[in-house]
């Protein structure tokens, strides 16, 4: 039994965990749900030894664990997969796996052996691995999470902790992955899974514990609760609408989807091709997004979405093809997938983070000199309007919670009055509140005549928001017709790609 008793943890003046008691039993999949900032990450970080609790104890099968030591946690058999993968950027994926687990039992690093064992586990899961010897640095978030999962499984852990692992998996991968979790359960292991998807928590887990504001509010048996009840427990005072399961949602047209009234094309991409890593990362991608349209791009993460965004942002030059924005490239704003690495400068104040957007920077620069006080006042206004919970325009971005970081990214993208918005997994890791808010902002932007390219691994989100849909597979973009707007058809396209490429 994995148990936490009376865990309290503070960060400065903030109480992240308040006398939390938690129990998970062998042969159980236990889901941990809660809003952003509820304390889920803090709790699993304490289990994994990444954080030391202020007070309280952690025990595995009755034996107290040395807290605050990742090594001790691992030795006790607790392995964790984090939402932001912890990998060595400049090392190949084989080296990463060998360092993390596969190779740790031998004195010499056995890269080939590690890769072989990883392939065996990956094949069982239906995971696709990167090309031999590929460094991690250019891999997508989805590929990184898959590597992390393999690494954690290589320890044959007694306790496996997963922080939002399913967001980046394809439907077919998801099934195999859940099967793996069930096998672990059957072998008497403990699986703790952190998730925002309540339907998933109920479907996968045996029991669900709800955290709110650093406290455990309830633990429910999955069979005896509902998504609606969990949502209520999570949010507290606010009434939540019941979350439909993915399948049900996909089959019924969403009333809130925008009506397709489109203006002139605002973003036109013709035959965009990007060669690299010995293959075509983007292969003749053509599409256009009209003013007022939200165009969705579905697909398993790692099929060229990241490269498409990088080309849009001007970070990479395409090998061939054209990209046209009306009226010009300045009118395009991008919200990148990995907000901490690509979107924010954590040790800069918030007002300077807003200045990263060229349009904002140009607005507050006169002959090359920054109008600091007006930029700060502008930032204070943004913080107020969105609203972003922070200690003010001069506080550091690092002090923002995940949801507030994303609000800042959205606010910044819209601050430059763009005509075209390219967003990539914009709601990944956000809670219900924040997700609804971001969706509302996107709809408003489109309603006001903006064009949105919504790249997402969340089918629910794509179905709810987009008026046209494309599927990305192995660097190619296929337009989905109205007849294709069906979960199984799209899932087939996506997972088929995952198995082949």
């Amino acid at each position: 039994m994995l148990s936490a008793t009376a865990i309290t943890r503070r960060f400065g003046r903030t109480l992240a965990l308040d006398r939390v008691d938690f129990r998970a039993y062998p042969g159980e999949i236990h889901a941990l749900v809660g809003e952003n900032g509820a304390g889920k990450s803090t709790l699993i970080n304490i289990f994994a030894g990444r954080l030391k609790p202020g007070s309280g104890t952690v025990a595995l099968n009755g034996e107290a664990l040395v807290t605050g030591s990742a090594h001790a946690a691992l030795k006790a058999g607790i392995a964790a997969v984090y939402q932001s993968p912890m990998l060595f950027e400049r090392m190949s994926w084989e080296e990463n796996l060998a360092l993390g687990g596969f190779g740790t039992r031998t004195l010499l690093n056995d890269l080939a052996g590690a890769a072989g064992r990883a392939r065996t586990i990956a094949a069982g899961l239906g995971f696709k691995l990167p090309p031999d010897g590929a460094p991690v640095e250019r891999r997508s978030v989805g590929e990184r999470v898959r590597l992390e999962i393999l690494r954690a499984l290589s320890f044959e852990p007694r306790v496996l902790i997963l922080d939002e692992p399913t967001g980046v998996l394809a439907p077919a991968e998801l099934e195999a992955f859940v099967d793996t979790l069930r096998r672990l359960r059957a072998a008497g292991r403990i699986v703790v899974i952190v998730t925002h998807r309540l339907a998933e928590a109920i479907a996968v887990a045996d029991r669900v514990t709800v955290l709110r504001h650093g406290r455990v509010v309830a633990t429910r048996t999955a069979g005896e609760t509902s998504a609606a009840e969990l949502a209520r427990l999570m949010i507290g005072d606010v009434a939540a609408s019941p979350t439909k399961s993915t399948k049900a949602r996909l089959r019924t047209p969403d009333d809130s989807a925008p009506i397709a009234v489109h203006g002139a094309p605002a973003l036109v991409v013709e035959n965009l091709t990007l060669a690299g890593e010995g293959r075509r990362l983007l292969d003749g991608v053509s599409f256009s997004v009209a003013a007022g349209e939200i165009a969705g791009v579905a697909g398993v993460d790692g099929n060229g979405q990241r490269e498409l965004v990088e080309v849009m942002a001007g970070l990479r030059k395409p090998t061939a093809g054209r990209l046209r924005v009306v009226p010009d490239r300045q009118a395009l704003a991008v919200i990148a997938q990995n907000r901490d690495l690509d979107g924010l400068i954590l040790d800069m104040p918030l007002w300077e983070n807003l200045l990263l957007a060229r349009a904002v920077r140009e607005r507050f620069a006169r002959r090359g000199w920054l109008q600091r006080s007006s930029a700060m006042a502008f930032c204070a206004g943004v913080l107020d309007r969105y609203p972003i919970r922070s200690a003010g325009a001069a506080s550091l971005a690092a002090a923002l919670s995940g949801g507030n970081r994303q609000r800042l990214a959205v606010a910044r993208a819209l601050a430059g009055d763009p005509r075209v918005l390219v967003v990539h997994d914009v709601c990944r890791g956000l809670d219900l509140h924040a997700t609804a808010e971001v969706h509302r902002r996107l709809r408003e932007f489109a309603a006001a005549g903006g064009a949105v390219l919504l790249i997402s691994s969340d089918l629910d989100e794509l179905m709810a928001l987009s008026s046209s849909l494309h599927v990305m597979t192995r660097g190619r973009l296929v337009a989905a017709t109205a007849a294709d707007r069906d979960a199984e058809r799209i899932g087939l396209l996506m997972s088929g790609a995952a198995a082949e490429s």
């Binding site: 960060f11 400065g12 903030t14 109480l15 992240a16 965990l17 952003n36 900032g37 304390g39 990450s41 803090t42 970080n45 954080l51 932001s84 912890m86 950027e89 400049r90 640095e137 650093g214 990088e310 942002a313 001007g314 970070l315 991008v334 990148a336 901490d340 690495l341 690509d342 979107g343 924010l344 400068i345 954590l346 040790d347 800069m348 104040p349 300077e352 200045l355 990263l356 957007a357 060229r358 920077r361 620069a365 090359g368 000199w369 920054l370 600091r372 200690a391 003010g392 001069a394 506080s395 550091l396 690092a398 002090a399 923002l400 919670s401 995940g402 507030n404």
Partner: protein, 366 residues
């Protein structure tokens, strides 16, 4: 409110704490050796600031450290690890020393301006070369700047043995620069000159450039997160070359001031290692241009006071190097920012910065 300001005050406090700790550790060592720390530090102080001559000489010795310190700060703010301020200073001095003898026909202010411009151009060339190699050829600037230091030393040596050697050819030194190209001493016998004033002007300029200009913001953004900077269309390559050239120019002006005010000609050795000491100065100053000035004066005072300390207490002046080294080690050991910067230098990615900010993020999450 004012999180960033509080953070800045905290980092400055760490610097002062590191200095105090270094002095405390040295005191214990001195006590163990049977010497009186009080006497030693008092003599150190006397040697650095005890009288008019000592105090002005401290300022004179600090001046090149301000220039090289600013050079380091500008580069490090952009995560460009310029270890070549020494070479850039040498090339700047060489350029100024080479044109200096020919400036006799020019009025004093113009001759001085030409000296400084030559120094800046020489340093900019040397720094900019490393910047170009980094931006266009992906050559690690740590390696290229260190190598360019050796090249600079050899070029200077060749110049004072060869084309620039004085006519009598008895000693490896160049012809004296024209009197119009010389910066006068104000209150002789003190060697006080306008160099320190110039250094202050440059420090203010660097501060404004870094924190009040759009380009300075872009440079700091690159230094803190290259990937995000690239995503937002900041021209990384261009700014890398420009920042390294500017960094070199600052060191080069330091070299020109040294020739113009102090040596009046070129010798085989133009720098006792100011370019390296400047790294310590810049770290103590937290890469803040205005704080470079007091940090440089502190290091200049330690250098200057060490001789008096040796005479009075028979304590080796090496003790001062130990203090300087201790300050840096303590600072790096207790300071996440410096540690992260160094890790960033070694790994060349933003992952370190992200990991180091995790704790803060956790606080925000809760």
């Amino acid at each position: 409110m004012g999180g960033a300001i509080k953070w800045r005050i905290a980092t400055m406090a760490t610097s002062l704490g590191a200095i105090a700790s270094a002095i405390a550790i040295i005191s214990i060592v001195l006590l163990a050796l049977g010497a009186s720390p009080l006497a030693v530090f008092s003599d150190l102080w006397q040697g650095a600031f005890g009288n008019w001559l000592a105090a002005t000489d401290t300022l004179v010795k600090s001046t090149p450290l301000v220039f090289t310190g600013l050079a380091i700060a500008i580069a490090f703010q952009g995560a460009l690890w310029n270890i070549g301020a020494d070479g850039q200073l040498i090339i700047g001095a060489l350029a100024a020393g080479a044109i200096g003898p020919a400036l006799g026909r020019w009025p004093h202010p113009i001759a001085i301006a030409l000296m400084m411009a030559a120094g800046a151009a020489g340093g900019a060339l040397w720094g900019g070369l490393a910047g170009w190699l980094r931006a266009r050829r992906e050559v690690n600037e740590v390696i290229s700047t260190i190598m360019l230091n050796f090249v600079a030393v050899q070029i200077l040596s060749w110049a004072v043995h060869g084309p620039l050697m004085e006519p009598s050819r008895s000693f490896p030194k160049s012809v004296t620069i024209a009197p119009t190209a010389q910066l006068a001493f104000y209150l002789e016998p003190s060697r006080l000159n306008v160099g320190m004033v110039l250094a202050l002007v440059f420090a203010v300029g660097c501060h404004l450039g870094l924190f009040h200009s759009a380009r300075g913001f872009e440079l700091r953004a690159i230094g803190r997160n290259r990937r995000a900077s690239a995503f937002f269309g900041i021209p990384i390559a261009r700014i890398t070359v420009a920042a390294m050239a500017l960094s070199g120019a600052l060191a080069g002006v330091g070299g020109a001031v040294q020739v113009s005010a102090i040596t009046h000609r070129l010798y085989e050795t133009m720098s006792p290692g100011w370019g390296y000491e400047a790294i310590a100065v810049a770290l103590v100053a937290r890469l803040n241009p205005l704080a470079i000035v007091p940090a440089a004066i502190l290091f200049g005072a330690l250098d200057n006071g060490s001789q008096a300390m040796q005479r009075a207490d028979a304590v080796s002046p090496v003790l001062v190097n130990v203090i300087q080294g201790l300050v840096i080690i303590i600072l790096v050991a207790f300071d996440a920012v410096a540690a992260r910067g160094m890790r960033g230098a070694l790994l060349g990615d933003a992952e370190g910065a992200v990991a180091a900010s995790d704790a803060a993020a956790e606080a925000g999450d809760a």
